[in-house]
Symmetry: C2
Subunit: 211 residues, 2 copies
């Protein structure tokens, strides 16, 4: 018996379906996911899918909502403590954000692919996330402005700074399958890569911010 079977034995039917659905939806998106495959992967009959979750769409929305909650926390956490210096805050953002991505490696691709401009669920996503994004940006800007006043930092739009940080943090994980296959497993050791990337990105951003 492998460990996956073991986990399944310990969960009830509802939890098994939820787990299998999350995996299927994350990997294949709404259109690519099959409720029959989900039931099969969960090791239950297909009727159970509908018994517990009624429709494919309802379950998908539920999983999205959970993921949005995760994202919300990841956005707000590093700007919660306003007593930090800009330098410390940036380090927090980069390290916290990278830890979050490493713990949820499929999430970036899922969000980009399933919650983009042309998607059915784009509005739902925005509705739940944009307030928090704005709060995070305005706190960042505040912190930047006072650092500028003290001559510790060059002038920069917080949105640009966050775009740069997000780019350097997220993109490698989006491109990982391609990069690893094309460039000799460049990112093969996940932990080493993660820690190295924290240092690199912090250094890149700090050099960029120098007055």
């Amino acid at each position: 018996m492998n460990s996956e079977d073991k986990i399944h034995q310990e969960l009830d039917t509802e939890a098994k379906i939820l787990l299998a659905a999350e995996k299927e939806f994350m990997l294949k998106g709404f259109a690519g996911a099959r409720t029959t495959s989900i039931a099969e992967a969960a090791g239950v009959t297909h009727a159970m899918f509908h018994y517990y979750f009624r429709t494919k769409e309802k379950l998908f929305d539920r999983i999205i909502t959970e993921k949005i909650e995760l994202l919300k926390d990841a956005l707000m956490k590093p700007v919660a403590d306003m007593d930090l210096t800009l330098d410390e805050m940036i380090r927090n953002i980069i390290e916290g954000h990278l830890d979050f991505i490493a713990a949820n490696p499929d999430l970036p691709r899922f969000i980009i692919g399933e919650l983009s401009g042309n998607s059915e669920r784009f509005a739902l996503f925005l509705d739940k996330i944009s307030t928090y994004a704005q709060i995070m940006i305005s706190r960042m800007q505040e912190k930047i402005d006072s650092a500028v006043a003290e001559g510790l930092c060059c002038h920069i739009d917080a949105r640009t700074l966050m775009m740069d940080i997000a780019s350097l943090n997220i993109f490698p994980y989006l491109a990982a399958p391609i990069v690893n296959a094309a460039l000799d497993n460049y990112m093969a050791d996940a932990d080493t890569f993660l820690e190295q990337r924290k240092k690199d990105n912090y250094a890149t951003i700090m050099r960029k911010l120098k007055p």
Copy 2:
């Protein structure tokens, strides 16, 4: 009559289907695309789809192949001329790459979403692209190494440098729909954003490379 209808009138049936299919596949991916929708968008009967292209998969593969050719050119062009300095080559890469993305704004999301590790067509993609990616990287490394020897540049792995450049260039376009909706149309003016981004990313990378 709007301009789209005009274009359609000037094209033959095959070209109309191809154009509509490209759009549908780019926006919705293979699983999300519908051959009926493609035929409808092309303004022809659904049977024509199969008459000209036999199957959904055949047409999809054809469109992928075309996109891979585009990508190949975009990879090789900036490292074609080995007489340039590292500084000039980096400027070429960043500007050429950003122009390419701006001209093909849906391509990054399509590649990340449809040609990722768990995709059916991942092998086909890699087979056609990895050789070129390796050539590009080794030329970059050569150029870096001689700049390091002259004391013009700090030591860096070409793969890391390319990862940083690709991240800073591509990610904003992947996130554009979300960012624009959440942050007050930050990237609204496409041309202004593109030119600003060229300057910003060049400056970011150059500061990073300082000895």
